[in-house]
Structure formats: structure tokens, C-alpha cells
């Protein structure tokens, strides 16, 4: 439970700053700082247990069928990272309190940073691989928001997008990799995966899985060539860079590599993938950093280089390499974060981050200078500093590589990279605080940073010193248990005294230090050469690629989806015919065992009328009104067919649907050109005719085949149970409101959504061309003739009476809510047509959207009412009552459900109709119709 609290506290805490955005910054910092601190102290309180080697697991099943569970795990490795995340987070929150002084955006920052902390804690404390991936993607998303924090700047937006594409894309690869891993291990639970190392490495899918997982880790941890997003993420506010892009998020990839180490690491493939990548990253980052004039740019590339270093160590596979990697990871967090904080303070004090202009700040900020000296020295790896030790550990490990070729390459390579890192460390310190005087700074003289703002910085600096002076203590208490957890065995204690006397590492260190200093001294000619090189901005290249990709996919989409309805129909039909035809290839018996019913004159007549009318639609389709009328004829004859083959309910429904459909279609079609041009060529005619013909004949044939076969359907059950089960003799209605009530509920919901969508589409639509057509000044141009409007008013009560009658008798005789709703809608439509939109709208008792919502709600609540009596959803009940005058009658709870259907149908139909009608008017009525 404590475990769950550790990650949930920041999540809950994230709400407070977001809700109290207007509060002063210090209070927001308090809101944000307390949850972080609480998580941190919870972790500290668990330290004894973790030190004792316990693995705490908290598990709560979520979707066990998918192997997905809400499972947390705290062991040494998780503890180390979680403590870094919460501790560093607390300090950053304290630092940001000064960084955001007087800015209105601090509330957003604080809630995002807590959200980020939550996601990060989720990664490092997950026991379930899939669960971890959810948090993994969550960090990408929150990081996107944080990098794009200053969304009004184009650089920030582009940087954010770039990082999302790269890290999010990496997350997808990781998903694939983890799924494979889970399959190979037979479980997604970490405890089981970690034990299945032998089996996993022997699996033939191992190379694929490993590449995918490593790609995920590399993109997140900015390994070459995916490092490009990290420098561009520097457009984020400095606290974000300090937290996400040096101390936590970029370490997630390394964490993953360490976490899965027992399961997937230490094979030749692992070495060949990880070591070269780490080496390249290490070198590229260290080399480019030297030439960055932006302080944060330099720090970003230096971070990349250090990430490469840690990855390299994780890949080496020598006995103590993992110890060195995790030790350096801690050191790096301790010295990189204060340097970032320094960068932010200098930026705020001088208004610039350009090291060619910021010089000689020691006069203005002596305290900051002293505080920066320590982490900068640590980064350079000067003696007595934490970085000195970790770098030396690297040298020691590099000398122990046993793979042929690499035995000499790796030590030389890391010495060279060490040289560069010394150079840029000197540069960041020397260029900022010495090197002459400031050159035309935007803010001059520089503002004094507040003393209290330096407190977090001072704490971290102190941390650097502690690690430098007492490495064995820190290692034993904090790192060793993480190393044990990461390597899955008990690793012997690291012998720091042996480190100081080792000969070769000492020589390598000295070479790096002297070489670095020399390199720095030669900086001016080097900068001159660098400035003459063509400038390559990765962001532009990235944007170019994105633009090209978008243009390409748009072209491809357009090839398929060019706005031609004919093409869509053709595609759908061809696909259907293709699939259906393929399935029917071996089908030779169209005629089933049931004998055909005798042909009678009426049926022939009706069928021919339907055929002719359908043909008429095609022939007249250039003129919309005749085509619509022909369509109406089809509909009416279908109604007659229903009535003839004893389906009165369907007939009634079809009839009322037909009326409303024609009215709405007429309204909608009037927005299109009144005549469509003749443009089809003969080949297209042939093509269309063929496709339509095959599809039509196919459907006809299928219907024939089905109708001539005996079908053992559920209808007998419905017929037998309608009265005892549903209390109604109208089986159709009982099915609708009772047996298949859930279907109906879904259908009216869809209907309501469709209507609201029409409302949303037409709400802000103004069709200016619709104003006044032919000769409206003519004397018959009387939009609302008196006779019609008077008679319409007369008809309304009668129609409503019919509607009520149909509704009430629905359960036992043809009728029901749907039909009644359509009749009411038709009657009200008549009012709209006769009296005009404004006139009718003024007289409507309710808006339509509440009607729709109320209807769905009523239906739903009626269904839920069954729960009260312990029955499943939508069970209906009924009883027989009698009243004087009325006599015996039946009341069913289904009636209430039906009332919901009724309200939804009325509301939806009228909402669509009135909003389409509004488009016809010049400016629309004064207020919205909804």
C-alpha cells in the first residue's frame, strides 16, 4: 500500500496547482513540494527493508487475461531511481519557485512537473512490463507538454514535436519488444522475466526482441543518432531541462537497460549493439558540446555524452561495469542539475545564454561562482570530485574488455572522450565567470540572484562533495543494492582504495586532463574553423522530413479518397462483391428445399412498381425532385409489401420514416445545385452498371438462397415468450423494448448523437448564396399561406391524439414509441412548414437537445431500475390494473422505456430538421435552435 502511495501522491498533488493557478508562486510551490517531499520520505522510510535485500511487491489485478496488472515493485534499483526522481524533483520545485517568480504560468508548470514525477515513478516502480510501458509513453506525453511550455514560440513547438515523434516512436518499438519479451518469458511480471534469462537468450526471436527494446531505450536516452531531439528540448524552461533532460527522463532508457539486464544482457549481440552506440554517443556529445555557445546547448550535448558513457558501461559486460554505470549515473545527476540551475540563473540575471557575450561574471556573482566550481570540476573529473572516481571506474572497466578488436579501441576512445569532456567543463566555468568582461548583455549590470534561490544548488553541490570524499559510504549504502538488483546476483563491494593506485587509469586520467586543458586553450582558432562550416540545423531537417511525409501521405490519401461519392460506393461494392464472390465460389445450390409460393397479380404489380421506381431514380437523378419522388414511391411500396406480408409494425414505421425522410431529403437536397450536369462517359457508365449489376444480382441471389431454406431462428422463442415474459402481444414491440432492449438503447443513442452532430455541423454554417432566388417578389411568393397554417394548427391536436393512441397500444398491437415519435415529429414538422421556423420555434415548449438527452436518460434509468429489485439491466415488469371508466388495462415498465425512445426520436428528428431549415433562412433566427 505504501508503494501505491508513493506514486499516487504526486498524481493527486498535481491537481492543486492546476486548480489554484492564481495563487502566489510560493504557495503553489508549497502545494507541489509537499507531495514530492512526502513521496521522498516514504521512500526513505522503506530504505532499511530495501537495504536488507527485500523486494516489496504490491499487486492488484486489472485485466488478468491480458497479463496486465497494476503491480508495483520496489527493490534496490527501483529505490535508487525513485529516490533520485523524488529528491531531485523536490529541489527543482524549490528552485522553480524563484525561476517562476512573477510569472502567471507557474501553476501549469507545477502540475505538469508533478504529473511527470508520477509517470517517472511509475516506470521505475512497475512490476508489470506492460504497465511500465503505459508510464513510459506518459513521460513522452508530459515531456511534450513541458518542452512546448512556451507554446507561443515556434522553436518550442517544433522542439516539442520532434521529441514526441522520436521518443513516442521509440515507445512503440519498445511496446513490440516488450510484447515479444513477455511471450518469450511466458509472463509480463518482472520477477518472472528476470529469472527467465537463459530461456530468453536461447530463443530464436531474441535478436529481434533485443533490437526493439534497445531502440526504445536509445530513443528515450538520446543515444546517437536519436540524440537530436535533446538539444532542441532545451527550449523548455530551465527547471524542466534540469529535471527531465538531465536527471530523470533521459535516464529512463538507461534504467530499462539496467532493469532488464539479467534477462537480456551480456550476450555478444548485446555488446555489439550497445557498446558502439554508447561510444559514438559519448564522442559526438563530448565533441559537439565544446562548440556550443549556448550554455544550455553545451549542457545538453554534455548530457548526451554522459548518457552515452553510461550506456557504454552497461554494455561492456565486465564484472563491475554495472556498478560503475550506476555510480556514474548518480554522480551525473548530482553535478548536471546544479549546472542547469546555474544556467537558468545566469539567463535570468543577464538576459542571455550566449557564452560569447557572458564573461567575467565572478565580479557580480561570486557565490554562484563558488557553487558552480564544484559541479563543473566534478563534470571534468578533477581529483577528489565525484566525477573523478566515476571516470576512473570507466577507465578501469574499459581496460578489461575481452572481445578482440575492442581491447585497444575502447580505452583509447574513452580517453579521447574524457579529454573533450574536460575541455567543455573548463569552458562552461571559465567562459561564464572569467574570460574578460561581459559584452553588450541585454541586462547590464547583471541582476543579483537571490540567495535563497541558491539553496537547492548548494545542496546538490554538497552532494557532489560528499560523493567525492566518501565514495565507499555512498556506494555501499545506495548504489550497491541497486547494482545487486540490476545484475541479479550479489556483486562484490567496489574497492575504491585499489582505484587510486591503479596505474593505467591514472595515466589515462592525466592524459585527458592535460589534453583537455590544451584543447581549451586552442579554442579560438577552433571556433573560427567551426563558424566557417555550413550550419546544419537538425530541426529544419526534421521539419522538412515531416512536411514531406505529410505531403506524401496526403497525396496517397487523395488517390484513394478524392471526394467522389461514386468512387467510394464503387470501392465498397467492389470489395463486398470480391469478398462475397470469393466466399461463394464453391456455392452451387442457390435453390433451397422450400417450395416457391405461387405468383399472384398483386405481388407482381407491386414488385414491378418498385423496380420501375428504382429505375426512375436512376433515370431522373439529374433532376432532384423527380428522383426524390421516385424514391418515395419505392418506399411506399415497400410499406405496402410489409403490410401485405403481415408486418404491420414495420409498415407503420416505414410509412412514417418515409414521410420524414422525404421532407428532410428535400430540405437537404435544396442546398445542392438543382440540376446536375451530364458528365458520365460511356466507359464509366459501363463500369458503374457492371459493378451495380453484379452487386444487385448477388444480393438478390443471396436473398433467394436464404428465403428458400428453412431457418431455425430465435423467432419461435420470441413468439412463445412475448406474453408470459414481456407482457405484450405485439411481439415486435416486446422485442424492441424488452428482449432486445439493450439494442434499442444503443440505437436511440446513435440517433441522438447523429442529430447532435448535424446540429454541430450546421451551427456556424452560413450559406450566403441561399438568399432570395428566382422572382420572390412575385405575387404568390407567400411563404406561409394562411390556409395551410390555419389547417395545420387544426391538424396538430388530432395528430397528437393519434400519436398517443399508437404509443399506448404499442405493447399489444401495432405501434410503439418509435412510430409514435415519428408521427409527432411529422405533425410538428407540418407546423414548421406552415408557420415558418421562427413562429414554430417560439412555440416549442422545450429545446431539442434536452429532449434527446432526457429520452436516453429515461430509457437508461428505467433499465437500471431493474437493479433495485435485483434483476439484470433492462428487465421489465408489468401488471394489470383497472380504473373506473377506463376499465382493465396493463402497465409495463417497458412503457417508460418506450417513452424514452419516443422523446429521443421526436427530439432528434426535429433537431435535424430545424437546423437544416435554419440554413434556408437568410440570417437564421435570432437564437440557436438546439
Amino acid at each position: 500500500m505504501q508503494l501505491a502511495l508513493i506514486i499516487l501522491v504526486p498524481l493527486l498533488g498535481a491537481f492543486a496547482p492546476a486548480l489554484r493557478r492564481r495563487d502566489p508562486v510560493w504557495r503553489l510551490a508549497l502545494f507541489a513540494g509537499l507531495p514530492a517531499l512526502l513521496s521522498f520520505s516514504l521512500l526513505l522510510s522503506l530504505l532499511p527493508q530495501v537495504l536488507a535485500g527485500e523486494v516489496l511487491v504490491y499487486q492488484w489485478d486489472w485485466i488478468s487475461q491480458l497479463g496486465l496488472s497494476f503491480a508495483l515493485r520496489l527493490d534496490g534499483l527501483g529505490w535508487l531511481f525513485a529516490t533520485l526522481i523524488t529528491g531531485m524533483g523536490t529541489l527543482i520545485i524549490a528552485y522553480a519557485r524563484y525561476y517562476f517568480e512573477g510569472k502567471a504560468t507557474s501553476g501549469r508548470f507545477y502540475s505538469l512537473i508533478l504529473l511527470f514525477m508520477f509517470a517517472m515513478l511509475g516506470i521505475v516502480l512497475s512490476e508489470n512490463l506492460l504497465f511500465m510501458l503505459v508510464f513510459w509513453e506518459l513521460t513522452s506525453l508530459v515531456s511534450f507538454l513541458l518542452i512546448g511550455f512556451n507554446w507561443h514560440s515556434q522553436g518550442a513547438r517544433r522542439g516539442a514535436r520532434m521529441s514526441l515523434v522520436i521518443t513516442g516512436g521509440g515507445g512503440l518499438l519498445l511496446l513490440a519488444g516488450l510484447l515479444l519479451l513477455g511471450q518469450m518469458a511466458g509472463s509480463y511480471q518482472l520477477s518472472e522475466v528476470l529469472l527467465a534469462g537463459e530461456r530468453i537468450k536461447a530463443d530464436p526471436r531474441y535478436p529481434v526482441m533485443l533490437s526493439l527494446v534497445l531502440l526504445g531505450a536509445f530513443t528515450k536516452s538520446a543515444q546517437f543518432p536519436f540524440h537530436l531531439w535533446l538539444p532542441h528540448a532545451m527550449s523548455a524552461p530551465t527547471p524542466v531541462s534540469a529535471y527531465l533532460h538531465s536527471a530523470t527522463m533521459v535516464k529512463a532508457g538507461l534504467f530499462l537497460m539496467a532493469r532488464l539486464h539479467p534477462a537480456i544482457a551480456d550476450t555478444e549481440l548485446w555488446f555489439n549493439l550497445v557498446v558502439p552506440t554508447g561510444m559514438l554517443t559519448l564522442m559526438v556529445g563530448a565533441f559537439v558540446a565544446m562548440f556550443m555557445h549556448d550554455i544550455k546547448g553545451l549542457l545538453a550535448y554534455s548530457t548526451i555524452s554522459h548518457l552515452g558513457l553510461i550506456a557504454l558501461l552497461l554494455g561492456l559486460g565486465t564484472p563491475l561495469a554495472v556498478s560503475a554505470a550506476l555510480f556514474h549515473l548518480v554522480c551525473h545527476a548530482l553535478f548536471k542539475a546544479p549546472l542547469f540551475m546555474m544556467a537558468g540563473m545566469v539567463d535570468q540575471a543577464t538576459g542571455s545564454r550566449d557564452m560569447q557575450r557572458i564573461n567575467g561574471l565572478w565580479r557580480y556573482m561570486p557565490v554562484l561562482m563558488v557553487l558552480t566550481a564544484v559541479p563543473a570540476a566534478a563534470m571534468a573529473g578533477l581529483p577528489l570530485m565525484s566525477g573523478y572516481l566515476s571516470k576512473k571506474m570507466l577507465f578501469v572497466e574499459s581496460l578489461q574488455v575481452s572481445y578482440p578488436f575492442w581491447t585497444t579501441v575502447v580505452p583509447v576512445w574513452v580517453t579521447l572522450a574524457g579529454l573533450f569532456s574536460v575541455a567543455y567543463s573548463i569552458r562552461i566555468f571559465h567562459n561564464v565567470f572569467y574570460n574578460g568582461r561581459p559584452l553588450d548583455l541585454p541586462i547590464y549590470p547583471p541582476r543579483q540572484p537571490s540567495r535563497r534561490a541558491m539553496a537547492p544548488l548548494a545542496l546538490l553541490t554538497l552532494g557532489c562533495l560528499v560523493v567525492g570524499f566518501a565514495p565507499a559510504l555512498v556506494y555501499d549504502k545506495v548504489v550497491a543494492m541497486a547494482v545487486n538488483a540490476a545484475s541479479g546476483t550479489l556483486v562484490p563491494a567496489y574497492d575504491f582504495s585499489a582505484l587510486s593506485v591503479a596505474r593505467w587509469p591514472m595515466i589515462m586520467s592525466i592524459i585527458a586532463m592535460i589534453g583537455g586543458a590544451l584543447f581549451y586553450l586552442a579554442r579560438n582558432p577552433l571556433f573560427a574553423i567551426h563558424s566557417r562550416l555550413p550550419e546544419v540545423d537538425a530541426k529544419n531537417i526534421f521539419e522538412w522530413i515531416v512536411d514531406r511525409a505529410i505531403a506524401y501521405s496526403q497525396r496517397r490519401v487523395y488517390q484513394l479518397e478524392n471526394g467522389s461519392l461514386q468512387r467510394y460506393l464503387a470501392l465498397i461494392l467492389v470489395t463486398t462483391v470480391g469478398l462475397g464472390g470469393w466466399a461463394l465460389l464453391r456455392f452451387d445450390q442457390w435453390q433451397g428445399p422450400i417450395a416457391l409460393s405461387p405468383v399472384d397479380a398483386m405481388s407482381v404489380f407491386g414488385a414491378s412498381v418498385i423496380c420501375l421506381a428504382a429505375l426512375g431514380v436512376v433515370v431522373f437523378h439529374h433532376a432532384r425532385l423527380p428522383a426524390l419522388l421516385a424514391l418515395g414511391v419505392c418506399g411506399l411500396f415497400v410499406t405496402l409489401a410489409f403490410a401485405r406480408f403481415s408486418a404491420p409494425d414495420l409498415a407503420l414505421t416505414q410509412l412514417s420514416v418515409e414521410v420524414m425522410a422525404v421532407v428532410i431529403m428535400m430540405l437537404a437536397l435544396s442546398f445542392l445545385p438543382q440540376r446536375s450536369p451530364h458528365e458520365s462517359s460511356l466507359p464509366r457508365w459501363t463500369r458503374d452498371l457492371t459493378v451495380a449489376g453484379i452487386a444487385g444480382i448477388g444480393v438478390g441471389g443471396l436473398a433467394y438462397a436464404v428465403l428458400t431454406r428453412p431457418v431455425d431462428s430465435i423467432s419461435d422463442f420470441f413468439l412463445a415468450n412475448a406474453v408470459p415474459g414481456g407482457g405484450g402481444t405485439n411481439v415486435v414491440n416486446v422485442i424492441l423494448v424488452d428482449f432486445r432492449g439493450f439494442d434499442t438503447l444503443g440505437e436511440i443513442t446513435v440517433l441522438g448523437i447523429a442529430a447532435v452532430a448535424v446540429y454541430a455541423f450546421t451551427r456556424d454554417l452560413h450559406l450566403k448564396e441561399r438568399v432570395a432566388q428566382i422572382a420572390d417578389e412575385h405575387w404568390v411568393a407567400d411563404p406561409h399561406p394562411v390556409i395551410l397554417s390555419m389547417v395545420a394548427r387544426l391538424v396538430l391536436p388530432i395528430a397528437l391524439l393519434v400519436s398517443a393512441y399508437i404509443f399506448l397500444r404499442g405493447h399489444n398491437m401495432p405501434g410503439g414509441g418509435f412510430i409514435a415519435g415519428l408521427i409527432t415529429a411529422a405533425a410538428l414538422t407540418l407546423q414548421y412548414m406552415a408557420g415558418g421556423l421562427v413562429w414554430a420555434q417560439e412555440r416549442m415548449l422545450t429545446q431539442f437537445r434536452p429532449l434527446i438527452g432526457g429520452g436516453i436518460l429515461l430509457a437508461g434509468v428505467t433499465g437500471m431500475g431493474a437493479w433495485v429489485f435485483g434483476y439484470p439491466f433492462l428487465t421489465s415488469t408489468f401488471g394489470y390494473f383497472s380504473l373506473p371508466l377506463v376499465g382493465k388495462f396493463e402497465l409495463a415498465s417497458a412503457l417508460l422505456f418506450d417513452l424514452g425512445v419516443y422523446a429521443t426520436v421526436v427530439g432528434s428528428t426535429l433537431l435535424i430538421l430545424a437546423n437544416l431549415g435554419k440554413l434556408m433562412t437568410v440570417a437564421g433566427p435570432g437564437k440557436e435552435i438546439g
Binding site: V780, A781, I787, L788, V791, L794, V795, I798, V802
Partner: protein, 116 residues
């Protein structure tokens, strides 16, 4: 249901109503075919739907009132609807035609309220 005996007077009445209704409907249909332009054509089905269907409904009303208990009132409602709606529809159609300036044949153009 034909086993209920209907008095011959009523039977005659029903038959007359049905036949008259059918005849009027036939005339209306003929008119629809024969008349030369929209305005004249409009007359035929209007009469057919009121008078023709009205007669048929009367016949039906008598028939069902006899073979079932009580008076069959549904037909009254239908008739009411028809009598209210048919003229109004015809009126609206005429107005629409005028509005769209549908041509009338020459012979019918005698304007009694000639403004000249």
C-alpha cells in the same frame, strides 16, 4: 366473417357507396391522364381523393358497424383527415405552380378580374 347476415338494404347501400367511390376514383385517374396542363389536372385527383375515398370509407364504415359490435369510428377520423388535408394540398400545389410560373394552356387563360 361473412357468416354474419347483413340486411339486403344495407348490403345495397354498401355496394352503392363502394361503386360510386370506385367510379369517382376512376374518373379522377382519367382526368389526371386527359387534362392538358397542371392547373386543370390538379382538379381530378383532388375530387377523387375526397369524394371517391370518402364514399369508399362510408361503405366500409357501414359494413364494419354491422358485422362488429358498436360503431366503427376509425373511418370517421380518416375521412376527417382527408377532407382537411386534400384541399389544402391542392391549394399548396397550385400556389407552388404559380410561384414557379408553370405554364397553363391558352384556353384556360380567361382572367375574370382582368386588370386592363
Amino acid at each position: 366473417m361473412t357468416d354474419v347476415a347483413i340486411p339486403w338494404v344495407l348490403e345495397l347501400l354498401i355496394a352503392v357507396f363502394l361503386l360510386v367511390g370506385a367510379l369517382v376514383a376512376l374518373l379522377g385517374t382519367l382526368g389526371l391522364v386527359r387534362f392538358p396542363d397542371f392547373y386543370t389536372r390538379l382538379h381530378a385527383p383532388t375530387k377523387a381523393s375526397t369524394l371517391g375515398v370518402g364514399c369508399t370509407l362510408l361503405g366500409s364504415m357501414i359494413y364494419f358497424s354491422v358485422i362488429k359490435e358498436g360503431i366503427s369510428a376509425q373511418e370517421v377520423l380518416i375521412t376527417l383527415f382527408l377532407f382537411v388535408t386534400a384541399p389544402v394540398s391542392a391549394h399548396m400545389m397550385a400556389k407552388a405552380a404559380l410561384h414557379r410560373r408553370v405554364n397553363a394552356v391558352k384556353r384556360t387563360r380567361q382572367t375574370p378580374w382582368s386588370e386592363e
